[in-house]
C-alpha cells in the first residue's frame, strides 16, 4: 500500500493513464499540436477533428447534441457563464433568481455578484437530508423569476437532487434551469433528453480527466441564450472566446468516454467499498452520517465523530488524504456552511470528515482506514474534555461557554 491513501476523490481525481496517453498525443511537434481554429492547413484540421470527437464523447455521456457543448476552463467558469450569462440576457424579463444555501461557491458568489448588480436572489434551505425538493422550487418561483440554479450532487455530502422533477416545474413556468453537475457526471446517469435542464456545468477533473477543462451544456431546443463573459475571437459560437486547449479537451473526451463505458460496474464496486467503510465505523459511539444516505453517490461518506475536532482528527489520520468540514482546515473561521445549512450544530460540523472513494480505491485501503480512524477517535476522545463531560452525563448544551 502507498501512503498517504487518497480518499478525497470529491476534491479531484488522478488522471486515468488512458486519458494521459491521449493528452500526450496533442502536445509536441510530431503530435496533434495545431490550433483547432486554424482553417488553412492540416495542423488545424487535425486538431479540430480531435476537439469534435471529444465534444461527441462528452455529449454521449449526458445524452445531448454535441453542438450543445461549450468548452470552458472548468465547472467554476461554466457556473459563472451560465448564471451571469443567462441573468444578463434575460434581465428584461425579470430579475429574480433561485438557488440554495448549499451550492458550490462558484454558484453562490456568482449570485452575490448579481445581487450587487440589482438582481434579487432566493436561497432555498435544504432539508436535513441535504435535498432540495421540487415543491420548494415551485413555491419559490415568482412571475419575475428568470433562473433557477441547483446542483445535481452536493460536493460535501454527496446527496442527489431530483433534477428531472425540478426541471419539469421550471420548464412549465418558463424559467431557465441551470444545474451544476460537477459531482454527478460519471457517478449517476444523466439523460438530457429526459431531463428538462437548460444549462449544465461539467468538469473533467472529478472524472479522471485533467484539471483546467470543463464545459457548459447550452440547450438548443428550446433555445437558451446566454451573454458571453469572455470576449475575443468568437470561439464556441461566440459564447466563450479563447483558443481551444486541444490536449485538455481530448483528455476530457476520453475521460467521459471511459465513464460512459465503465461507470455502472465501477460505481457498484465503489458502493460496496463505501458500505464496507461505513460498516467498519458505525460501531464507534456517537457517530453520525451527514445527509441522506440512500440518495447519495456511491463514493461519498460524510461522517461526524462527536466530541472530536476535525483538524486534530485529520492530523491523526495523516496516512489518509481526506477532508474535513471543520473551520480549522480552511482559511475561514466558520465550519462548513453546507453542514450548518442541513442543521448540524457547530460541534458536529467541526467533527466531520468527508471520505470520498474512487476508481483506484482498494479494499485493503478501506480496511486500513477503518483501523486508523478507530485508533484516532479513541486517542482524541481520551484527550477531549467534552468526551469526559459527555461520559459524566453533563448536557453540553446547558454549559455556559465563553465564546471567543
Amino acid at each position: 500500500m502507498q501512503y498517504p491513501i487518497y480518499l478525497d476523490y470529491s476534491a479531484t481525481s488522478p488522471v486515468d493513464p488512458r486519458v494521459a496517453q491521449k493528452m500526450s498525443e496533442c502536445l509536441t511537434s510530431e503530435a496533434n499540436f495545431g490550433n483547432p481554429a486554424s482553417r488553412s492547413h492540416m495542423f488545424g484540421w487535425k486538431a479540430e477533428e480531435a476537439v469534435e470527437t471529444a465534444r461527441r464523447q462528452v455529449a454521449d455521456l449526458i445524452n445531448c447534441d454535441p453542438r450543445e457543448i461549450v468548452w470552458t476552463s472548468g465547472a467554476t467558469e461554466a457556473d459563472n457563464l451560465a448564471i451571469k450569462g443567462a441573468a444578463h440576457f434575460y434581465s428584461k424579463q425579470g430579475k429574480h433568481i433561485i438557488t440554495s444555501k448549499i451550492e458550490h461557491k462558484a454558484v453562490l458568489d456568482s449570485c452575490r455578484q448579481l445581487e450587487r448588480e440589482g438582481f434579487e436572489v432566493t436561497y432555498l434551505d435544504p432539508a436535513e437530508s441535504g435535498i432540495i425538493t421540487p415543491e420548494q422550487v415551485a413555491a419559490a418561483i415568482r412571475p419575475d423569476t428568470i433562473l433557477v440554479s441547483l446542483m445535481h450532487v452536493n460536493n460535501e455530502i454527496g446527496v442527489i437532487n431530483d433534477i428531472e422533477a425540478i426541471g419539469k416545474i421550471t420548464r412549465e413556468k418558463n424559467v431557465i434551469f441551470h444545474v451544476d453537475a460537477a459531482q454527478s457526471t460519471g457517478k449517476i446517469d444523466i439523460d438530457l433528453d429526459k431531463m428538462p435542464v437548460d444549462l449544465m456545468s461539467l468538469t473533467a477533473h472529478k472524472v479522471y480527466g485533467p484539471k483546467g477543462i470543463g464545459a457548459l451544456f447550452v440547450r438548443r431546443k428550446p433555445r437558451v441564450r446566454i451573454e458571453p463573459q469572455m470576449h475575443g475571437g468568437g470561439h464556441e459560437r461566440g459564447m466563450r472566446s479563447g483558443t481551444l486547449a486541444t490536449h485538455q479537451i481530448v483528455g476530457m473526451g476520453e475521460a467521459y468516454r471511459i465513464a460512459k463505458a465503465e461507470m455502472h460496474e465501477e460505481n457498484a464496486r465503489i458502493l460496496a467499498l463505501r458500505d464496507r467503510l461505513l460498516d467498519g465505523l458505525k460501531d464507534i459511539e456517537e457517530v453520525y452520517v451527514n445527509g441522506d444516505l440512500a440518495h447519495r453517490v456511491a463514493g461519498n461518506l460524510n461522517i461526524s465523530f462527536n466530541f472530536v475536532e476535525g483538524e486534530s482528527l485529520m492530523m491523526a489520520l495523516r496516512d489518509l488524504a481526506v477532508s474535513s468540514g471543520s473551520a480549522c482546515t480552511s482559511a475561514s473561521l466558520e465550519p462548513s456552511y453546507v453542514l450548518r445549512a442541513i442543521g448540524l450544530n457547530d460541534e458536529l460540523a467541526h467533527s466531520s470528515l468527508r471520505i470520498s472513494l474512487g476508481r483506484f480505491t482498494q479494499e485493503s485501503e478501506i480496511d486500513y482506514a477503518i483501523g486508523k480512524i478507530h485508533e484516532a477517535v479513541a486517542k482524541l476522545r481520551e484527550l477531549s474534555p467534552l468526551w469526559d463531560m459527555f461520559k459524566d452525563g453533563v448536557d453540553l448544551n446547558q454549559v455556559k461557554w465563553a465564546a471567543h
Binding site: F307, V308, E309, G310, E311, S312, M315, S326, A327, C328, A331, P335, N345, D346, E347, H350, E382, L383, S384, P385, L386, W387, D388, L396, W401, A402, A403, H404
Partner: protein, 129 residues
C-alpha cells in the same frame, strides 16, 4: 498546513493528559473556549501551601496547535509559583511552538486557561478563609 516538529511532538506525545478533582481546594480549573468555535481547553493545576504549582493536567478538544499549546503549558507551569505562572504570555507559547498567524488564537486560549485556573484556586482559598 505543515506543522512544526514541536507541535507534532506534543500532539503525538501529549504531556500531562488527565483530570483532577475540581472540588479539591488545592486544585484550580480553567475551562476556556467553546465547542462552537472548535476548541475547548481544560487546564488544571495542583497548588501547594507555598503557592507553587506541583502538578498540572489538561484535556483539549481542538486542533493540533490547541492540543500542543495546552500540553506545552502544563510543562511550563509545573514548579512555578502562581505569580510566575501569571507571567506566561501567549506570545511565548506561539514562539516556542512556531505557530503560524492563523493559529495564534490557540496560544491565546492557553494563556486564558492558565489565568482562569489560577483565578479559580485563589477564589477557592479566599472563600475558605
Amino acid at each position: 498546513m505543515a506543522y512544526s516538529d514541536k507541535v507534532l511532538d506534543h500532539y503525538e506525545n501529549p504531556r500531562n493528559v488527565g483530570k483532577m478533582d475540581d472540588k479539591d481546594i488545592n486544585v484550580g480549573t480553567g475551562m476556556v473556549g467553546a465547542p462552537a468555535c472548535g476548541d475547548v481547553m481544560r487546564l488544571q493545576i495542583r497548588v501547594n501551601d507555598q503557592g507553587v504549582i506541583e502538578d498540572a493536567k489538561f484535556k483539549t478538544y481542538g486542533c493540533g496547535s490547541a492540543i500542543a499549546s495546552s500540553s506545552l503549558l502544563t510543562e511550563w507551569v509545573k514548579g512555578r509559583s502562581l505569580e510566575e505562572a501569571t507571567l506566561i504570555r501567549n506570545k511565548d507559547i506561539a514562539e516556542e511552538l512556531g505557530l503560524p498567524p492563523v493559529k495564534i488564537h490557540c496560544s491565546v486560549l492557553a494563556e486564558d486557561a492558565i489565568k482562569a485556573a489560577i483565578e479559580d484556586v485563589k477564589n477557592k482559598r479566599k472563600a475558605q478563609q
